[in-house]
Amino acid sequence: MPIFDPVTWLYLTGGVVLGVVFGALPGFTATMGLAILTPLTFWLPTDQALAMLFGLLCAAIFSGGIPAILINTPGTPASIATTWDGYPLAQQGQAGLALGVNALGAFTGQMISILVLAVAGYPLAAFALRFGPAEYFALAVFGISMMVSISSESLIKGLLMGASGLAVSMVGLDPIMAYPRLTFGSPALIEGISFIPVMVGLFGVAEVLMQIYARVPHEVRGFGRIERIMPHASELRTMAPHALVSSLLGTGVGIIPGAGGDIGSMIAWGQARRMSARPDTFGRGSLEGLVASSTAANAAIGGAITTMLTLGIPGDSASAVLIGALLIHGLQPGPMLFRDRPELAAELVMLLMMAAVLTLVVGLLGARPLAWVLRVKDEILWALILVICVLGAYALNQAPVDVWVMLASGVLGFVLRQARFPMGPLVLALILGPMAESNLRRALVISQGDATILVRQPIALVLLVITAISLLWPLLRRRSD
């Protein structure tokens, strides 16, 4: 039981500390932290590795709210809505209270969404066990299409990224006949391009290069004094209904592939405003608005992990990286995980709860010292992150080719992100590509080449129809406008 293992708690603490740094520094994200840390956890036992990664994820999403409150700059995209009421509270001399509410909201959102995972995980997985190759193909296409339709201002750029991810996933042995493809005769490519170096390059190196390119001279970020942290009982009573509703909203949004805490927290903030007896205070330092946004942002974690663990498709970029982490530890997320290793599924839920509890402790006890993370100079971190990216990419297979793949991905990611190409669909397609291809070909083997098998299965048909609608919707809306 990981809860009784002090070493697991130690790694969890390490993950939480790293998560606070990655979340609190604007520009550094949870996905970036996970991508950099994943190769380093390869040598750890599975539960300790996942404790570290879950700790990083929970703490990073929580601590993204710290700069949002103190300096009006969201640490991660999920905490954009936290600036709306958090910063006005800090300006009114209540920075400590805002940080405390942010920590409590994060804990509530994380715990409720983890409970949803615990309760809904088995039924969802049992439902997914009915899936055959046609359904899995449709599910993979659905996952990629949702990410494409949500993550980019240009549908065509999202589709190009998705198609590029599928192309990269085809390098190596073909999944049905084990025939080498696109290897250019290189033995190093027979096993395919490992997605970990690609992710480290896209989310680590490319992000640092973006920051170096667009940097502004460093200024010590100032903020007011931090005094009262815990809200009064009357304030807690006012916030409680918003925390509950926002947790469920955030979890629901997180379950949808492609939608994450940023969307969830904005929806929850709007819903809390409609529910509130004092909607005029929203955007001017409302505790209700703050708790709604921070709760929903953090609840999306459990939602995305529910989709990842039960269906095997990532709910967002961070869970795409987590799938990579599970795979390098020999775990295949999906319904089979719940059927064949229920004890492991329960352990994952427990690790997430431990991460949420430790994040709360760190959030409340460390409100004052955490604020000092904002004073770390970006320039100091850039070089360290670049070297850790190189060493992490190499360490996984101890193959220099992975370092070159990581550097090439970093340069490509930098150029494409400057041109407003989204990276999410590429990573998702890279992970889901083999699932899509092998299941499509299996379905065609079963139907002896009859492609209508994809629309004769009701679940596959529904998923493909939703896929088509999500991709065509922007075009239809533009035409109607």
Partner: protein, 144 residues
């Protein structure tokens, strides 16, 4: 370069990549009895990339708007080129120069490139090399 030219160039690049992928797919064994072989997916995705790439090139926006923040930042780009060169050399010299020599030089090079003062750069480079060496070599048993 304007956003329009940038999109056109990238669109043509993606289309060319798709063409190469589809051609590579044609050279792979065919499937049996209507069931696709290993070349099916590369051809499908290759054709998709061609259509989408040409679509991007054709629909590239007009005007001189730039994707590059605040226009083309020569200083930032020069720093990136220097840092990438240093990283490339670091990877190329992996087996030739020991970790404890090449890592502080890389770190020092990056810190100086982004404008950190000499003393701080040297100090952090040495401390970070020792810490990273300890973590990767001693704890994780990675041969650096």
């Amino acid at each position: 370069m304007s956003a329009r030219r940038w999109d056109t160039a990238l669109g043509i690049g993606f289309a060319a990549l798709g063409g190469a992928l589809a051609l590579a797919g044609w050279g792979l064994p065919e499937g049996l009895a209507g069931v696709p072989g290993p070349g099916f997916f590369p051809i499908l995705i290759g054709l998709g990339l061609i259509v989408l790439g040409l679509g991007l090139a054709a629909s590239a926006g007009r005007g001189d708007a730039s994707y590059w923040r605040e226009g083309w930042r020569t200083t930032g780009m020069r720093q990136i080129v220097v840092i990438l060169t240093l990283l490339g050399m670091y990877a190329a010299l992996w087996n030739a120069v020991p970790f404890l020599w090449r890592t502080p030089v890389l770190l020092l090079g990056i810190y100086r490139t982004v404008g950190e003062p000499w003393m701080r750069s040297i100090l952090i480079s040495l401390v970070a090399t020792a810490l990273l060496g300890g973590v990767f070599d001693t704890l994780l048993r990675v041969r650096l």
